[in-house]
Symmetry: C2
Subunit: 465 residues, 2 copies
């Protein structure tokens, strides 16, 4: 593992007198030979844009394509903006079809149009077609460099065909068997081809009804299916059932990680969005302050207005508070505990729904379980808090705080577990039931429950005296 690799010192030759600093082409081409493009990309990412542009202009088109592919979208865009169109066009022709579409889509339209004109017609068509699919769909994720076979070929002929085509295909380990209308008939792996008798026909050995995706399928669903069936690649068909691309296993890693990041952000009440300028794509390190403010402020403002209700709840019980100010000491503790228990339940539920561990139909059964768990947890916390209550506010306060604790934890937990289900039912993302949202709603409930119990208990008590 080459995390600690550094660029060689002699890559840049310092300028003398009027000659500016320049690049040693030999050192650079050696680097391209010996380093993995992913490593080169991460080493280069620390350099200034000027230096990067110089380096990329001196690279071979192959190396340039490989390294660019491995850089962040943000860096890619910056570099592409500065590189000359000729250099860029050469590199783009050598990128795999899904990567170049991503790059071109991140550029301003005028620049990408100029670039497209420099490419060969077939490539231009391919890019136009791939760019036409909406982001986060199978169509946008797929590559058009896949291997196809016709059912009548023999295993030997198939291997010969793959041998010829291999350099231009993303993978030759899965080949897709198609008819004259490019309809998907089956799938044959290179392993099966090699194991087969050389004269057997593909149609005899292919696996029929392979698992496939449609161009408009959501990328998360596709990734989940590929992970479930341990697929190296998944074919993608269009509305006419014709094969138009494949998605390979390395795209799945990215999708799983991206979707998890998106859910994380939602759970932290950070607005989500799609598009090349999204926080998930750009990353926290490269995000501009303005982007972060745009992502963070909306929910915080919404929560402020929600919290006004807690304030209103307190105002309603002003007399109770004035009578027993000691009750206020326990306010943060009580509403905090309800919020924390709620955040726990919501976290468990959101994640379980996201990875498919829990379905809508499980709601009722889980609700029953949650009541039991929340009661048990609430009672433990009430016991702990009753001691503090006696010590800080006397017996009455202790009783009130303990009773309120059980109710508040129960309320928070049920809220936290139900909200994600409710959102799913409303066809919204369950992760919108963020910890801060649940906490804020639990706050309102907590205030009302706490002071409600207090004024009821104190009223009862006084009446009894």
């Amino acid at each position: 593992m080459n995390d600690s690799l550094k660029l060689p010192d002699n890559l840049f030759v310092p300028g003398q007198g009027d000659t500016p600093e320049y690049i040693d082409d030999k050192v650079l081409s050696n680097l391209c030979e010996s380093e993995h493009p992913a490593d080169l990309a991460s080493q280069l990412s620390d350099l200034d844009l000027d230096q990067l542009v110089t380096i990329f202009s001196h690279m071979s088109p192959e190396c340039c394509a490989d390294v660019l592919t491995h850089m962040d979208y943000e860096d890619q865009r910056e570099i592409a903006k500065e590189l000359s169109n000729d250099v860029l066009a050469l590199a783009i022709t050598r990128m795999s079809s899904d990567d170049r579409v991503d790059l071109l889509q991140s550029m301003p339209e005028e620049s990408s149009e100029i670039l497209l004109r420099l490419l060969a017609t077939t490539e231009r068509e391919d890019i136009r077609r791939l760019s036409s699919y909406e982001e986060d769909t199978a169509g946008a994720l797929m590559t058009s460099e896949y291997a196809t076979l016709s059912p009548g070929l023999t295993a030997r002929q198939a291997i010969d065909k793959l041998r010829l085509e291999a350099p231009n295909k993303e993978t030759i380990y899965y080949s897709y068997v198609i008819d004259a209308q490019r309809r998907l008939l089956g799938l044959v792996s290179l392993r099966e081809l090699i194991l087969a008798r050389p004269t057997v026909r593909i149609e005899k050995i292919m696996r029929r009804d392979p698992i496939f995706a449609r161009v408009h399928d959501d990328q998360e669903e596709v990734a989940r299916q590929m992970a479930k069936y341990d697929l190296l690649a998944m074919p993608v068909v269009n509305g006419k059932d014709a094969l138009v691309g494949i998605i390979t296993f390395d795209d799945v890693h990215d999708v799983i990680e991206e979707e998890a990041t998106e859910d994380f952000h939602r759970m932290g009440s950070i607005s989500s969005g799609t598009g090349a300028d999204d926080l998930v794509d750009i990353g926290l390190r490269d995000a501009t302050p303005w982007l972060l403010i745009r992502k963070r402020l909306p929910w915080l403002m919404a929560l402020v207005f929600m919290n006004i209700f807690s304030g209103a709840g307190i105002a309603y019980y002003e007399d109770t508070i004035q009578a027993t100010v000691a009750l206020v000491f326990f306010l943060p503790l009580l509403i905090g505990s309800g919020g924390n228990a709620g955040a726990q339940s919501a976290t468990l539920m959101v994640r379980a729904l996201a990875i498919g561990d829990v379905m809508m139909k499980d709601w009722f059964r889980l609700l029953g379980k949650e009541v039991g768990i929340a009661l048990a947890i609430g009672l433990c916390m009430a016991l702990a808090v009753s001691f503090i209550g006696v010590f800080r506010g006397g017996m009455d306060v202790a009783v009130i705080v303990s009773m309120a604790m059980v109710c508040v934890v129960l309320f928070g937990s049920l809220l936290g577990m139900s909200l994600p289900f409710l959102l799913t039912r409303l066809k919204l993302d369950p992760a919108t039931a963020s910890a801060p949202l649940v906490t804020s709603v639990a706050d309102i409930g907590g205030v009302i429950i706490y002071f409600g119990i207090a004024s009821w208990y104190l009223g009862l008590h006084h009446a009894a005296i």
Copy 2:
């Protein structure tokens, strides 16, 4: 995509009179032929344990192995407990080496010992060796069914060897070239073998210095490397640099998802743990209430004791509160806002650290950015809240609440972003900076800042009058 598939109705033949319900073997073997094991596994998971045991006892050992592999750990264990040892031993021999180790490790020690005795010596040794690695390491994740080649073979000889061995290998798309001491010399892909001249020697075409892992490397790090380099498989070497296993791409999906789930749970202040009985492995749906209470209560209790400090803070300012009860109306709003802003920052930072987008060294630069962002956000929120302040508590309260809002949001944000770094520095998991923890600490700070500003401002004001 076969999510909606159902088991055929005629699988179970209803019993008549004294004959109990039994299974139609033909229907079952057809099912095994036609369905993907992953689909069969998810269809079966809804059945009762009794029915499951009957079905698995009637399956061919191959089908039994494939389907068991695709079931949840919890279901696997339940079924394995009930199946006869003979049936189970036959199935286990047909599982891939990493899957059977997982199954055996989830069983009680006596049962797994009995089973081991039913296996062939080489398999027993292999299982013992693989079980010896700690959980969550490369060693525990790897399989021992990999293809090796010696450097002197020709491409044609290599393909012939792979053809013979293919049925017993997890993948033949990557072969590892080793010397007599099993030290890793290089890597050759099946694609390269097929493209090579049949008479060329492996040592001429192999890629030297392949990326590898060591048995004790953390699984998360291995998954991250495999995703970075888009590897189909990664070789694993032991302390003597000898090749002992490979990790394949499908394991990476699981690790990425598992690690994300673990981080989710930590962020929701749910205690993490390792071991086969962990919540992440068992899943929320199958977790017992007792397990969930054990996972949830510790942090909630810790937070209760933390919240006592908020209460103490309020008690300290009892006089200020008694003088202006209206201040209490804004207490939930202010401490809530600080907590929410903190939860946002912590979420962004924890996730960015987890996916490697941000490193320790970025802390100082990000701190500066965060101050700017938090001030901007705080000012917006102060503006919003000042209107409510005037309306509900008059000018004084509005000024106090606005000033406190800026300070509280700044405090919460800096806390949320710094805590994950601090924990990383202390070699703890940054995700321990859970939303509830940040919220609770922000609560304490919020109380002190709010009432501190209030008593300072009111004191100043009164003195002026």
